[in-house]
Symmetry: C2
Subunit: 332 residues, 2 copies
C-alpha cells in the first residue's frame, strides 16, 4: 500500500510558500498483529501549525525538517488486526498531512455515529469549537448582557465564538477582513460587523459599534486589534487570548500596542490559554455543541480544499484570509 505524504522541506521565513513543503510517496509495510490501516478522509490546517514550523521551545514541539507533518485528521479504517478498531470505523488522530498510515491505535478516538459530516470533528466539534467554548466559558466568563468583541470572527474559532456569544446572551461585535465575510456573519445574526480592512480607525469603528464599551475581547489577532480593544474596554473587562495570527509570519519583532496602561486604568484581566489544557471538559462541551448543531442554533461553516497536493495552499490561505469557518482538506 502506498501513501502520499507532505514533509517540511525548509522552515518558512515570513509567510510560508509552497516551496517549504514536499509531497512524497512512501510504501507502507504489511500490517502486524495489533495494528490497523487508515485511509484519511479529511485533514486539518490550523494557524497554530505555523508556530511548530519555527525551531524553538513552545507549548508543542517543533516540526522536524524532512519528516512528515502532523495535524488533526479524520480517517476510515480499511484493514485491521486490532479488536478495538474494526474495519469501517472512523477515527480521529493527529496523523494528518498523509493519505494512509498504519497505527497501533494510540491517540486515536473512534468517532460516534452522527448525522453530521465527520469533518466537523476537526472544526466546530473539535479543537476550534472547543477553543471558542473554553475561552468564553472558562477564561473570559462571559455573562448575559455583556458586550463581546471577536477578531478573526469568520475563522474556525471566531465564527463559533460569535454564535456562542449570541447564545450566551451577549451583544456581539465582530471584526473580519472582507465584506463577503461580514455579510455571512450578518446572515448568522451578528448585527455589528466591522471590515477592518476598510476602516480608517479600528478603534473609532469599535466605539461606533459598541458605544457602551467592550466587556470581553476574544483575541485571535493581536496588533491593531488589541490596541482598539484596549481603548474600548470597560472597567474590569476580560481579554481571552487565543492567538495573535497577525504576528505569526513576522520576520522582525513588531512593537506591541502603545496603550497597555489601560490594563491598570481599567483594571483589565488578560489571560492566554491553550485548549489542550482544558480537554477534561470536552465531554460537557461536545454534548452542548451537539445539541446546538442538531437544533440549528449553531451553524458550522467550512472551507474545503480537495486533494493532499492542495494542503500547503490551504495552510497558506489561513494567513491570507481565504477561509470562512474551518479550513479543511478533503483527502478522499
Amino acid at each position: 500500500m502506498q501513501t502520499q505524504q507532505i514533509t517540511l522541506n525548509s522552515r518558512p521565513e515570513g509567510m510560508p510558500t509552497t516551496d517549504n513543503f514536499s509531497l512524497d510517496n512512501a510504501l507502507l509495510p504489511p500490517l502486524k498483529q495489533g495494528e490497523f490501516l487508515v485511509k484519511n478522509l479529511w485533514m486539518s490546517v490550523d494557524p497554530y501549525m505555523r508556530g511548530r514550523m519555527i525551531d524553538r521551545k513552545s507549548y508543542v514541539k517543533p516540526f522536524v525538517l524532512g519528516e512528515v507533518l502532523e495535524g488533526g485528521a479524520i480517517g476510515e479504517i480499511i484493514e485491521s488486526n486490532h479488536n478495538d478498531f474494526p474495519v469501517g470505523a472512523k477515527v480521529s488522530s493527529m496523523n494528518g498531512w498523509r493519505t494512509h498510515y498504519i497505527t497501533d491505535g494510540s491517540n486515536h478516538t473512534v468517532l460516534p455515529e452522527t448525522p453530521l459530516c465527520e469533518s466537523h470533528f476537526l472544526g466546530v466539534l473539535g479543537m476550534p469549537g472547543m477553543t471558542a467554548w473554553t475561552g468564553l466559558n472558562r477564561i473570559a466568563e462571559l455573562k448575559a448582557g455583556e458586550t463581546l468583541f471577536v477578531s478573526a470572527a469568520s475563522g474556525a474559532v471566531g465564527s463559533v465564538v460569535c454564535q456562542l456569544g449570541l447564545l450566551m446572551g451577549a451583544k456581539v461585535v465582530a471584526s473580519v477582513g472582507s465584506d463577503e465575510k461580514a455579510d455571512a456573519l450578518r446572515a448568522m445574526g451578528i448585527e455589528q460587523v466591522i471590515n477592518y480592512k476598510t476602516t480608517d480607525s479600528l478603534s473609532a469603528a469599535l466605539l461606533a459599534a459598541a458605544p457602551d464599551g467592550i466587556d470581553v475581547y476574544f483575541e485571535n489577532v493581536g496588533g491593531e486589534h488589541l490596541f482598539a480593544a484596549l481603548n474600548n474596554m470597560n472597567d474590569h473587562g476580560r481579554i481571552a487570548v487565543c492567538g495573535m495570527i497577525s504576528q505569526y509570519n513576522d520576520t522582525a519583532p513588531t512593537p506591541g500596542p502603545s496603550n497597555l496602561a489601560n490594563i491598570v486604568m481599567k483594571k483589565l484581566k488578560i489571560e492566554g490559554f491553550i485548549v489542550s489544557e482544558h480537554w477534561q471538559h470536552y465531554g460537557e462541551f461536545s454534548q452542548q455543541m451537539g445539541n446546538w448543531l442538531a437544533n440549528g442554533q449553531i451553524k458550522a461553516e467550512q472551507t474545503v480544499y480537495e486533494g493532499i497536493e492542495q494542503a500547503p495552499d490551504a495552510f497558506i490561505g489561513l494567513f491570507e484570509g481565504k477561509n470562512r469557518g474551518k479550513m479543511v482538506v478533503k483527502l478522499a
Copy 2:
C-alpha cells in the same frame, strides 16, 4: 489662621517642572460648629498623581487647574468644634498639598496609637503598603517556592513587595535604577538585585538571576521591564499590574513590547488593579503589617523632603528615581 497651599498652575507636558505648581497663602475662616482645624504634619507624593494632572477620564477625576492639589496627608487637630475629633488627635485625609485646613471630618480617619512614626500611614501602613499586599495576595496569588520579579523595587510599593515576597517564601528578583538602591535591598535580604541602568540586556540579566524562570511579576514600570518579564515568565505565570511609571511622562505613544505572543504560548494571566477597590481588606492587611513592622520582619524606608515649598520637587523626584521607599514631605 493662614494656610500655605499648592495649586496646579498648568498641566505638565512630559516631565513635570516646578513651573506647573504655585505656592499661595490663604486665610482660613473662623471655625463653625461641627468643624475642626488641622495642621498637616506630613503629605504624600505618589506616581498616580501624574495621571490626575492630565485632563481625561480615568479611575480618579483629574485635578482642576488653579485649585489646590489633593493627596494623602497626616495632620494634627489643633482646634475643634467636633465631638468625634478632639484637639491633639492625629488624622489621615486626602487634604495634602496644604499646611492647614478646616473640615467637617468627612473622609477623615483618626489614627490608632502606635510607636511608629505616623508618616508610615502614608507608606507601608497606607496605600502603598496595601497595594503591595493586595497585588501579591489577591491578584497574583504568590505561593511559597515561586520566583517573584519586582520592578521599581526600592520604591514605596516595590520595597514592600520585595519584603512581603520573602515573608511569603518566594525567591525574589528585584530591579532598581542605582547601585545604592541595589545595596539597600541586598541589606534587606534580597539576594538577586539588578541595576537595570547598567545592564546591556535586562532580559538576559533576568535570565541569569532566575534561570528557572519567573512565576509572578509585580509590574510597576512597563516598557523594557515588561518585555524582559514576558521573555522570562514560566508557564501559567501571573503579572499583577500596579502601574507603568516609565510611561507616565511620555508625550507621544510609546510602542508596547514586541513579545506579547508569550501571553498565549505561556498561558499567562495579566491583571491590572487599583487598591481602592480592595479597601474592605484593609483591616486584615493592617493587622498583619502592624505585626511584621513590630517584629522587624518588614522595614519601612522613607525619603523625606522638608517644607511645603519642597513638595513639587519631591513629586518630580519620583520620576527621577530620587526616593528610596516612600517619598513624603514633612510639613511641620
